[in-house]
Amino acid sequence: MAVTLFLPTVLARLADGGTLRSEGGTVGEVVANVAERFPQLAPRLRDENGDPYAFVTFYLNDEDIRFSGSFAAQVKDGDELTIVPAIAGG
């Protein structure tokens, strides 16, 4: 499945831009595909076991993936994955 990933600017500099195309059958596979292509980005998306962090939230279309199976959540062609890291500036 072809999925579009949206990265915030803080992570976009670790890839080639803020909008990435990726492939996979689940969110975890989509993220793994991107992690392989951009090794510097990889540790910002998932931990060393390949699991999501508690301070980076993934939205599949408009929904938090933790409520639909986390990295095991199935994706469809054309889905959008938005990555929302915790920021604290004020």
Binding site: P8, T9, V10, G18, Y53, A54, F55, V56, T57, Y59, D62, E63, D64, R66, F67, T82, V84, P85, A86, I87, A88, G89, G90
Partner: protein, 391 residues
Amino acid sequence: MTSTTSTVAPELSNEEIFRYSRHLILPEVGLEGQKKLKRARVLLVGVGGLGSPAALYLAAAGVGTLGLVDFDVVDATNLQRQVLHGTSAIGKRKLDSARERIEDLNPNVHVEAHETSLTSRNALEIIGTYDIVIDGTDNFQTRYLVNDACVLLGKPNVYGSIYRFEGQASVFATKDAPCYRCLFREPPPPGLVPSCAEGGVLGVLPGIIGTIQTTEALKIILGIGETLEGRLLLVDALRMKFRTLNLRKDPTCPACGTHEITELIDYEEFCGVRQAAAADAAAASAVPEITPTQLAARISRGEDFDLIDVREPHEWEIARIPGARLIPLATLVEALPTLDSAREIVVHCKGGGRSARAVQQLQASGFRKVWNLAGGITRWSDDVDPSTPKY
């Protein structure tokens, strides 16, 4: 509304009726709404980037009582975005500067100044007397503290957060709404996410996010419209994109789901701040240091050594120490073959943190004669050459 002080609807003077006329002719506000605003008590945690526009617009709107929590002093670097404070306020307490500006803007507003940092010991007491909290803090430990206190007290937490060109906003902890921990269960380890002081922020961005927080607070007071409860607003100022995502209440959330958190905890411990500070101190003490004054003396004696600047190119453009060579920290490994481990090397950055890591990297690669410039180019400007710009 759960105001703990005045429950009787206050009357508006003729001066107030005239002042708020553009509100009074809005059917959604009207006289009753304006009285609700006058009766409302809103707490601003932090009167910096986000708190500045919030304080100004809440005061202008006629919110009766504004509580301000801050312990900082106005610094010239604040003025690029903290529009509550002016040049004449540099060096003053932010609370004094804020009070003067608010009283000038609208003398009907009662300002309650809390000159303290919000802590687990005082948060419930301070927040408890207000109706709504606006989170304008700049660190994770205070954000989790504000969140947990608001959940325990049942007070709406109007959230906003910024970094570089992007912002987030939501309304947490109202009845049935998710809370900050439902969005981010745990904070990132210290040092992973740079602060605005380290990473920069577009000055107008807190204006955008702070006014969105203010809009939400006013809607909650007035009981109108649809707030960001259950939604997360993402703002990308570079692409000028606004997007809302659905936020769900997490039934396993220790604050608002399982209610495991029955009292405030140690948030510095929770966020790893204390452990990180201890590790930094240990690392710094393991690195040989040279002071800017000692460095200047070595330069003036014409001693032969290499001076390496590990900052970023945009920082190098602002200021540099004569004779330094720029090798940004991220490229140090690639540059190793161009360095001579037989020569003495002094490494510097802005404040001494990045260069300490560079010294450790060099030591790990077999360099033995390496020193870190204590306090970086900032202290060089203070102690040696005041003509070097500080940033």
